[in-house]
Symmetry: C2
Subunit: 66 residues, 2 copies
DNA sequence: ATTTTATGTCACATATATATGTCATTAACA
DNA sequence: TGTTAATGACATATATATGTGACATAAAAT
């Protein structure tokens, strides 16, 4: 799991809006949020920058119990 | 740029040894260290774990002037 | 000298991330 | 109502990450 959806929603962005900001298709954001695949490092960095956070926060050992 | 080579050398590992530990080909490590492409998130996480560090340290806004 | 080891690179093959178009469903809203 | 926006999902196409095998060079070890 990752925290892309959480950070996207906190910014009031739709999947489509975030996709446009980072230059990918809406489906790509959808698949990443639903852990359907394994994004590239560059895309992870773009997402972190666009969402005002960093790689560890979005993708490093997300604790689902908290 | 990233700090994979630096952390690998600090651990006394060859590209081949690190490649075996994370389950990719030696060429893949070589290309990543030389910024010839854009690894997947899962591979970045494996590298960070194997090198005893985290995503931000290896891949987030590496300052080349320091 | 000669044999390993480590690294960079190339060519080709394969797996998969990503794009594009589409459809269904739900919620918000006119 | 109907219409639009948001999301999940599918099928197909393309770009690219990664694998595999090979070769060259340099350094280290024997």
């Amino acid at each position: 799991m990752n925290r892309v959806r959480e950070y996207r929603k906190n910014r009031g962005l739709s999947q489509f809006a975030l996709a446009e900001k980072v230059g990918v298709a809406r489906q790509t954001i959808n698949l990443i949020e639903n852990d359907k695949y394994n994004p590239s490092l560059k895309l992870c960095i773009s997402l972190a920058e666009e969402l005002g956070t960093d790689l560890n926060t979005l993708f490093w050992k997300v604790d689902e119990t908290q």
